[in-house]
Amino acid sequence: MTVIDTATAQRGRGFAERLLLRTRNAAPFSVGLGIIWLAAMVFIAIFADVLRPYGITAMDLSSRLVGPGHPTHWLGTDELGRDVLSRLLQSIRISLVIAFGATILSAVFGTALGFAAAKFRGVVEHLVLALADFQAALPFLIMSLALLAFFGSSMWLLVCLMGFYGWERYARIARGLAISASAQGYASAVVQLGATPMRVYFRHILPNIASTLIVSMTLTFPEIILMESGLSFLGLGVQPPQSSLGNMVGFGREYLTTAPWIMLAPAMIIMLTTLSISLVGDWLRDKLDPTVR
């Protein structure tokens, strides 16, 4: 209703102005910027192939280490004459795909474990708690370092590994909320109607706790980006010739004094992206999560 009302009130103004007004009413300015930035990143991730002017391994040996602002290489080139802009676009895609896949994986895995703990209690619950203790005892970066170096780094391993990041958070939330939800009327009602446990948990309880889970996904997502870029920076994440944001920073580090743009461009992207997700995530949490109020 309200949406229609404001729309009629603003009929006289231009479309852009109306849109601006409406977003300003709905969200603070910084959150709006964050959303725009994230939308741009998603757009780049989807259309990286079309957008990038050169191949990521295409070398232009006659113009190596060219600074930004060059007519054909807007963001300059690296030590092999590869276009920084093209590599940047591809890196955004790789980093976002890994972070997105891993966030989904860890949400699914953690929620399933949390539900299992809530459903079976007893031994299963203790096992899940022991697993969470184990996770808390080993910093994730260190565990993944050991695993990656010993199994060799591949894209699949990386996504799966990152998919374990933060599962204990979802498990804890899902377990707590599922236990309290199963005590509520609607859950016992569908149980009385003869619904299977699977149906009760996934069709009835899950939709009721989804908003809290989505909010924790916004917390996990930037952390996974940071984790992946950290690993790639150490040379143990995404492997060349493929490139990710962290791995660009890692290689650009060699040219910190002579060609800082190689490292600064991906560094800025990482910072702005994680910053945007945090701002938007905080805002979403205030809007969606009933437990913080």
């Binding site: 080993l138 170096a149 950290g230 560094a267 910072m271």
Partner: protein
């Protein structure tokens, strides 16, 4: 109280045991260290000799038992690279890692908590907004980016601090700063929200309603109660400091545990990696245990809950 301490202790021991098993299983099953250490074109006899020397030709469960037995007697094996005892290699590096992590932790506590508490007491002011913004910025900037930016500014542009290495106290400034910033942000944000929540509690309202001085309300009623969640977060931060040491030591070529881990991992030096994993896990378990106990001490409700 005894029950509470005992249950926490048992959990800690089980966790350390789980980490030991994890390290063993993963590191042994992932590949043949003989092949890696000796290269692809060595005669089979040399590989066999290497395997029997390191006990790699025995069944896995025998290796596991031998491994547990040797760890319990304080023997963490010998580095496959330079033949030194792994424990000695790791212990040698601990002081230099502490030289970074301790100042970083002190900085985090000394800046993060006061900033958060101050922001909470002056809610919606310009300072509050500034603290929020800086703290979000602080924990969204990855440490490797921050470290390189600091090098670019202070070592390359102004040339007032060394860009890396080890020796004088000047060498420690940039790494310790890099390591602390993320934690300062997290702590400031967390103390702020903990403090805001406590200030809204009825007992704080009662205290100020009965005419108690504002300073006393904050120091005697609000802060001790806000301390409970803050202590938990500090416990978690010890883990992120250790993980941060891996990245920061690599950036600044600081000869600590983190760098040793990265080097040993690239060399597939199993005993050293195992030793580091176990040491970090033990440090984490001990710090989590301390947090749990401190928590029970700060909040008597938890003690009685665990006992029942």
């Amino acid at each position: 109280m005894i029950n509470f301490v005992l249950s926490r202790l048992v959990r800690a021991i089980v966790t350390i045991f789980a980490v030991m098993t994890f390290a063993f299983v993963v590191l042994r099953l992932s590949g043949d260290p003989a092949q890696v250490m000796l290269g692809p074109d060595v005669p089979t006899s040399a590989i066999e000799a290497f395997r029997s020397r390191w006990g790699l030709d025995q069944p896995l469960w025998m290796q596991y038992l031998a491994y547990i037995r040797s760890i319990l007697t304080g023997d963490f094996g010998t580095s496959m690279r330079d033949g030194m005892p792994a424990a000695r290699l790791v212990l040698e590096r601990i002081p230099s890692t502490l030289q970074l992590t301790v100042p970083a932790l002190v900085l985090q506590l000394a800046i993060g908590i006061p900033a958060g508490v101050y922001a909470a007491l002056h809610r919606q002011s310009a300072t509050d907004r500034g603290v929020i913004f800086l703290s979000v910025l602080g924990f969204t900037v990855p440490s490797f980016v921050l470290g390189l930016l600091l090098v670019l500014v202070f070592a390359v542009t102004f040339a007032i601090l060394p860009s890396g290495g080890y020796g004088s106290w000047q060498h420690a400034i940039l790494p310790a700063l890099t390591m602390s910033i993320g934690g300062i942000g997290i702590l400031a944000r967390f103390s702020r929200s903990a403090m805001i929540e406590v200030m809204g509690q009825p007992y704080v309202r009662t205290a100020s309603a009965k005419g108690m001085a504002w300073r006393d309300v904050v120091w005697r009623h609000a802060l001790p109660n806000a301390a409970v969640p803050i202590v938990t977060i500090v416990g978690f931060m010890v883990g992120s400091l250790i993980a941060g040491a891996v990245v920061v030591e690599s950036i600044f070529s600081w000869p600590g545990i983190g760098r040793l881990l990265v080097v040993s991992v690239t060399n597939r030096d199993l005993p050293v990696v195992q030793c580091i994993l176990l040491m970090i896990a033990s440090a984490m378990v001990v710090s989590n245990l301390i947090v749990d106990l401190l928590y029970g001490w700060l909040d008597p409700r938890l003690r009685s809950q665990a006992a029942h």
